[in-house]
Amino acid sequence: MSVTLETLKHTAELARLDLSLLPTEEQHRLAEQMSRILAFVDQLSEVDVEGEEPMTHPIALPTALAADVAVATPGAAAMLANAPARSGDEIVVPRVIDGGGEGG
C-alpha cells in the first residue's frame, strides 16, 4: 500500500513523533520508504495462515515465579541522578494542566 502524508502524520502522532519538525524532503522520503517496505511485506498475503495461531514467543516457557525474598534495589538517589531536570527528590517536567494548552 501507499503511505500518504496524512497516514504518516497520524502514525507519527500515535508514536509521539512530530515529523513537521523535520525538513519536508525528509517527510516525503519517509513516506516513500514506508510505502516500499509495506509493498515488500505485503508478500505475506500469499501465505496460507488458515488455522495458524499467532505466535508471541518462539519457545514455550512456563510462567516463572520470582522467589519471595527481599532484594536490594539501587535506591532513589541513583535513579534520580539520570533525570534531565529535577528539584530535590522530584523530576521536573513542563506544565501539564494549563501551560501548554494540549494536556498530556
Partner: protein, 486 residues
C-alpha cells in the same frame, strides 16, 4: 597475547604466571593501537585496572575463576554499572545504569574484567554499524568495508585482537553477520538461555545475548558461564546448561541438513564455495549431508520486519525525556516534550522502524500485518521442527556476501534488510545459531558459515562447529591487526 585462548589467559592468571592487572593493561594498550577501527565508544581505564586488581586479590585468596583476568568488551546496549550505556544514540547520551546486566555480572563473577563499551548501530537497528551516533566502526580486514551490524564494535574489538572476547546482542543476526564479516566466531544461543535483564530491549521475542570469540572453544566457555535461569528475566529457561567440558567433547554430527532454499539466487559464488568447504569438512568427520526444505524461507525478512518493528515501537515508547536520557528543552508542554525529544533524540533508521511498527499495530492494519506475521511465524517454527527430524544440525551461509563497502546499499533500507536473510529465521524460531569462520574469498575477505540446531541442542551445535574448525583451521587475525599501520 593475540593468539592465546581464553583458557590460557585465565590459567596464566590463576597460576600466578601473570596478574590480571598486567593482562588488562596490555588489552588497554592494544585498544589504543587499534583505536582507528572505531570499536570502542566508552572506556574507563582506571576502573578497568582497579577491577583487575580486585580479581588479583580474589585469585590470591584462592578463588578458582574460569575467566580470571580475562578482558571483555561489552556492546553499548548492555547495562554496566558506573560506565555509560548509550545504545550509540543521542537519546541515551550520558546515561549511567543503576544496575548491571545479568550476563555481564556473571562474567565478572567468573573473573572477567570489562574494559569498555563497543560501538553499534543505534538501538541495535542496522546491519552495517553505520547508524551509530558515534560514527562507523571499520572492518579490520579492509577499512573501506563495513564490519557488519548491529554489534559492529564487538566484532571489530575481537577481530582486531584488542580483546579475545566480547558480548553482543542478536535480534535478526546482529552477532552472526558481523562475526562472518570480521572473521570471528559469533554465537546466538537458544531463546531463553541467557538472561536479558539489563539488555536495552529492541524486540523482546527475538533478542538474545551472545559472545564473540576467536575460536569455538572460547565461545563454549563464555556461554557456559552466562547461561542459566535468572530471576531478573522471566523468559529464561530452567533447562540444564551443558558444562564447558560437555560442549567441547561433543561429537561431530551424524546428519547435516542443507536447506535447498538457501542456495537460491542472491548467494555469492565465493560464499557458496566456503559453504561447500565446510560441508566437506563435516563429511570428512563422518557426517552424512542431507537436503532439507524450508519452503517459507523467502518470507522470513518480511515477517521479521513487521514483528521486530512492532515490538521496537512498543519497547522504545519508554524514551520520553522525563526520567533519563535526552530531553528537548524547547518544548512548552509535556506532550510537546515527548514529541520533540523523540523526534530529535532518535536517528532516521530508529524513527523509520518506530513508524513502521506503530503503523502495523494501528487500528485497521493490526490483523493484516502484525497478526498475520505472527501466524506466519508459527509456520516457520513447524518447518524447522520438521527439518530437525531429518538431521542433527543445519548448515547455511551466514550472509549472502562477504563484507560490503560503505555506502554500497545507498539510500534503500530494503536492500540492507536483505543482508539478514539467512540469520533472521533462527530468531523467529528461537534456535541456537553460530557463525564459524570458513576461510577467505579470493580478495582476502573472511566468510562465515552458520550452524543451526534445535532449541536447547547447543551441545549438538558445538559438535558441528568444532568439527568445521578442526578441519578448516582457526581463522588468523587480519593483517592490519598487527597494529603497525593503525
Amino acid at each position: 597475547m593475540a593468539e592465546q585462548t581464553l583458557f590460557e589467559v585465565a590459567e596464566a592468571v590463576r597460576s600466578g604466571l601473570r596478574t590480571a592487572e598486567s593482562v588488562v593493561g596490555e588489552a588497554l594498550a592494544r585498544m589504543e593501537v587499534t583505536a582507528s577501527f572505531g570499536a570502542f565508544v566508552h572506556v574507563d581505564r582506571e576502573r578497568a585496572l582497579a577491577d583487575a586488581r580486585a580479581v588479583d586479590a580474589r585469585v590470591a585468596a584462592g578463588e578458582l575463576l574460569p575467566l580470571a583476568g580475562v578482558p571483555v568488551a561489552v556492546k553499548d546496549n548492555l547495562c554496566t554499572e558506573g560506565l555509560e550505556t548509550s545504545c550509540a544514540s543521542k537519546m541515551l547520551g550520558g546515561f549511567i545504569a543503576t544496575y548491571e546486566a545479568t550476563a555481564v555480572s556473571r562474567l565478572r563473577a567468573a573473573g572477567a574484567v570489562v574494559i569498555g563499551k563497543t560501538n553499534m548501530d543505534e538501538f541495535a537497528m542496522g546491519s552495517s554499524g553505520e547508524t551509530s551516533v558515534f560514527g562507523r566502526a571499520l572492518n579490520p580486514w579492509d577499512t573501506e568495508r563495513v564490519p557488519g551490524g548491529s554489534s559492529s564494535g564487538s566484532a571489530v574489538a575481537v577481530s582486531s585482537r584488542a580483546v579475545l572476547a566480547s558480548l553482543g546482542s542478536d535480534t535478526g543476526g546482529s552477532i552472526r553477520q558481523p562475526a562472518s564479516f570480521c572473521g570471528v566466531v559469533g554465537f546466538k544461543p537458544t531463546y531463553g538461555r541467557i538472561s536479558r535483564r539489563g539488555l536495552v530491549a529492541f524486540a523482546s521475542s527475538l533478542d538474545q545475548i551472545g559472545p564473540f570469540t576467536t575460536d569455538v572453544a572460547d565461545a563454549a566457555l563464555l556461554f557456559s558461564v552466562m547461561a542459566g535461569q535468572d530471576g531478573g528475566d522471566m523468559t529464561t529457561s530452567d533447562a540444564p546448561v551443558p558444562t564447558v567440558d560437555e560442549l567441547l567433547q561433543a561429537p561431530a554430527p551424524l546428519r547435516v541438513g542443507v536447506p535447498k532454499e538457501y542456495l537460491a539466487e542472491g548467494l555469492d559464488p565465493e560464499v557458496r564455495g566456503r559453504l561447500d568447504a565446510a560441508l566437506d569438512a563435516l563429511k570428512a568427520e563422518g557426517a552424512e549431508i542431507v537436503e532439507v526444505s524450508l519452503p517459507h524461507s523467502k518470507y522470513a525478512v518480511a515477517t521479521y520486519y513487521i514483528l521486530a518493528s512492532a515490538e521496537a515501537s512498543s519497547n522504545l515508547a519508554r524514551f520520553d525525556g522525563v526520567r533519563y536520557g535526552h530531553r528537548d528543552t524547547n518544548a512548552t508542554s509535556l506532550i510537546d516534550t515527548y514529541r520533540r525529544t523523540r523526534t530529535f533524540g532518535f536517528g532516521a533508521e530508529v524513527r523509520r522502524r518506530i513508524m513502521l511498527g506503530t503503523f502495523v499495530l494501528s487500528a485497521g492494519y493490526y490483523d493484516a500485518y502484525y497478526q498475520r506475521a505472527q501466524k506466519v511465524r508459527s509456520v516457520f517454527v513447524r518447518e524447522f521442527e520438521a527439518a530437525f527430524r531429518q538431521c542433527d544440525v543445519l548448515l547455511t551461509p551466514t550472509a549472502p556476501t562477504a563484507a560490503f563497502k560503505f555506502g554500497e546499499h545507498g539510500d534503500d533500507p530494503l536492500t540492507m534488510y536483505l543482508a539478514d536473510i539467512y540469520t533472521i529465521p533462527a530468531n523467529l524460531a528461537g534456535l541456537p545459531a553460530m557463525s564459524v569462520p570458513a576461510g577467505l574469498t579470493a580478495g582476502g575477505l573472511p566468510v562465515g558459515v552458520q550452524v543451526l540446531a534445535a532449541p536447547f541442542a547447543e551441545k549438538t551445535l558445538f559438535g558441528a562447529a568444532l568439527a568445521i574448525e578442526r578441519r578448516l583451521g582457526k581463522m588468523a587475525a587480519p593483517p592490519a591487526a598487527s597494529g603497525e599501520k593503525s
